[in-house]
């Protein structure tokens, strides 16, 4: 069991999500539970609530999960997905207000140091829009 905070990457584009995960993996190796999803339920650009719920499950950590998203719809769908989680998990998932690629790298680097969910979120959000 990995006690580090998990990272979930949610993009409108499956390519962006996969590539971002590759970059994160190269930097932090397997120290951080990591999952990604992207694309609407038909595979086009968009996001999918069940896919997001599933990715959160795959990156699950008792220390919590930080979710990185790209544009508005990904945020709204991720918030919905988080609310639909079990009561017990819901409170341990946070959405980061940070750019997806740069935020994921920052968040994962922070998570790999064993930081708390709140620290991970704050580190990612240092990059948030001015």
């Amino acid at each position: 069991m990995n006690a580090n905070v998990g990272i979930v990457i949610v993009s409108h584009s499956p390519d962006v999500a996969r590539g971002t995960a590759d970059m994160v993996r190269q930097m932090v190796g397997d120290e951080v539970p990591l999952a990604w999803c992207g694309g609407n339920p038909d595979g086009g650009l968009g996001t999918s609530v069940p896919d997001i719920m599933d990715a959160i499950g795959r990156a699950w950590s008792e220390a919590g999960v930080a979710v990185l998203v790209d544009l508005g719809g990904a945020e709204t769908n991720s918030e919905m997905a988080i609310e639909m989680l079990d009561d017990e998990r819901r409170g341990r998932v946070v959405l980061c207000n940070a750019p997806i690629v740069e935020g994921a790298v920052m968040a994962a680097t922070e998570a790999s140091a064993g930081s708390t969910l709140d620290e991970v979120r704050r580190t990612a959000e240092e990059l948030k829009p001015a």
Partner: protein, 208 residues
Amino acid sequence: MTVDPTTDSAVRERLIRAIAERMIAHADELTALDQAIGDGDHGLNMKRGFEAVLAAAPDLAARPLPAALAEIGKTLVMRVGGASGPLYGTLFLTLGKTLPERPSGDELIAALAAAVDAVKARGKSDAGQKTMLDVLVPVLDDLRRGGDGVPGRLADAAHAAAQATVPMRAVRGRASFLGERSIGHMDPGARSSALMIEAVVTCLEERA
């Protein structure tokens, strides 16, 4: 012939089909609106969601009205794929959670108000920001005012409200990227809301 969807599953099924078919029939138009100020997928998104609703229409209609509404909401959340999915999904989910099985007029209004509030919370938004709320909020207000011509009057109010989004500047959703340039186009979600309201009203009136 009854027109009460709270007691009659056939009416419920007609209503569900009327909404779903309206969305599907207008998919190209909604997509075109979204091409002008968004990412051009609102029609596709609504079609995807409501095709799933349509496929389940008999099952949905077999349930009591609140459960049917909640299930429609869940289907939209799961299938739409755009921001409109959780927004419309939340609208229906909240209606389902709030409506009693045989609501009074006041209870109906209270449930709609709760549902519109839930959409605001979900979208961190409110009327005036060039979204579906610019239809939902004024139509709810009109319904509250009551008097003659309800529900028929509401369809006209909805279309007028959608039309009124044309000169607005978007500050929520994808259209907000356009800033000033979002001005001059109808918001696609406002249009889909107006169509949805029209479908409900027409369906209930046809049988009245």
